[in-house]
């Protein structure tokens, strides 16, 4: 085990700001992108359904 305490883990041997500044942005983007792509798919399906019901109403 590398770290004697939780504090030592967060301090990262004095490089905490650098290490967590890297992984923080990585985590942010790698959570945001999946959310965005699933939202895009959901919206595409809703739009297709809306268009389809519009066609049915016309015919």
């Amino acid at each position: 085990m590398n770290w004697g305490s939780a504090l030592a883990f967060f301090e990262m041997g004095g490089y905490g700001l650098y290490v967590w500044g890297s992984y923080g942005v990585v985590a942010l983007l790698m959570l945001a992108e999946p959310w965005l792509v699933h939202r895009r798919l959901r919206r595409a399906l809703q739009e297709a359904a809306r268009r389809d019901s519009g066609n049915e109403a016309e015919s």
């Binding site: 085990m1 590398n2 770290w3 883990f9 990262m12 041997g13 004095g14 490089y15 650098y18 290490v19 500044g21 890297s22 992984y23 942005v25 990585v26 983007l29 790698m30 992108e33 999946p34 792509v37 699933h38 895009r40 798919l41 919206r43 595409a44 399906l45 739009e47 297709a48 359904a49 268009r51 389809d52 066609n55």
Partner: protein, 251 residues
């Protein structure tokens, strides 16, 4: 009636790809989470502190996978864009478009984590050396591709223009890769190569490789989901999408 035989090209039909990708995506997300957890555990709790860089080196476990992904995804994007252009294959062009934002994200992350790693180890966030500059150009190529395909209204013409840009830009990838050999750079040489023994402790290498697989699984999941969205957006007028949405809306 017999169902048509399953061939290699079966999944080139957007409707079949949509189904297959929909089945695969949850597995890729699960693999991403498991591999990232394992890689980060080994990277932070098993791999020892580096003798010269202290704990700042732990940025490597995301920096190198992100940089590898940025180059690999660009080549995959250019390949499918080219296939889509040469063979008029719609799905290939859609996959190319779906890769671009994920590739741009990994390129940004490689630059971001590199800058943050550079400050404590080199004393600077940024230098205009060959490796860093060519990676920045890669980001501009991704952004240029995204802007170009979105700027042209005719979808297939946009795909073709994008393919030309992507293929011409792929010359930049070997430049990035070999930049540390061809020029004197502040950036260090390759840590892992096919021809030489790795220059790092085996636990560090293990963590880095597992994180790379996590990034692969992530890229598959994100790109397949975005491709599915593009398929629906483009084929909204077709019968199979109508059946699909009716099935969803009125079960």
């Amino acid at each position: 009636m017999n169902s048509p035989p399953l061939r290699l090209y079966t999944f080139a039909a957007p409707s079949r790809f949509y189904q297959l990708a929909g089945w695969l995506v949850p597995w890729f997300w699960a693999a991403t989470v498991l591999l990232a957890a394992a890689g980060l555990y080994i990277g932070f709790f098993v791999a020892p502190t580096d003798a010269t860089q202290g704990d700042s080196y732990r940025i490597i476990f995301i920096h190198v996978p992100a940089a590898w992904m940025s180059m690999l995804l660009y080549l995959v994007m250019a390949f499918w864009a080219g296939i889509g252009w040469a063979f008029n294959a719609r799905l290939a062009s859609m996959v190319a478009r779906a890769i671009a934002p994920t590739g741009a994200m990994f390129t940004f992350l490689a630059l971001w984590t590199g800058a943050i790693w550079g400050k404590p180890t080199w004393g600077t966030w940024w230098v205009w050396d060959a490796r860093l500059t060519s990676e920045l150009i890669l980001l501009f190529l991704y952004l240029g591709y995204i802007a170009l395909v979105n700027a042209i209204d005719d979808v297939r013409r946009a795909d073709q223009a994008g393919a030309l840009l992507a293929l011409v830009g792929s010359v930049n990838v070997p430049i990035i890769y070999f930049s540390v050999k061809w020029w004197n750079t502040l950036h260090q040489g390759a840590t892992v190569s096919m021809t030489a023994a790795p220059k790092m402790a085996s636990t560090m290498l293990t963590a880095m490789l597992i994180m790379t697989f996590a990034c692969w699984a992530y890229a598959f999941a994100a790109v397949f989901t975005r491709t599915r969205a593009i398929v629906i957006e483009r084929e909204a007028h077709s019968g199979w999408v109508a059946e699909l949405t009716r099935g969803r809306m009125h079960p």
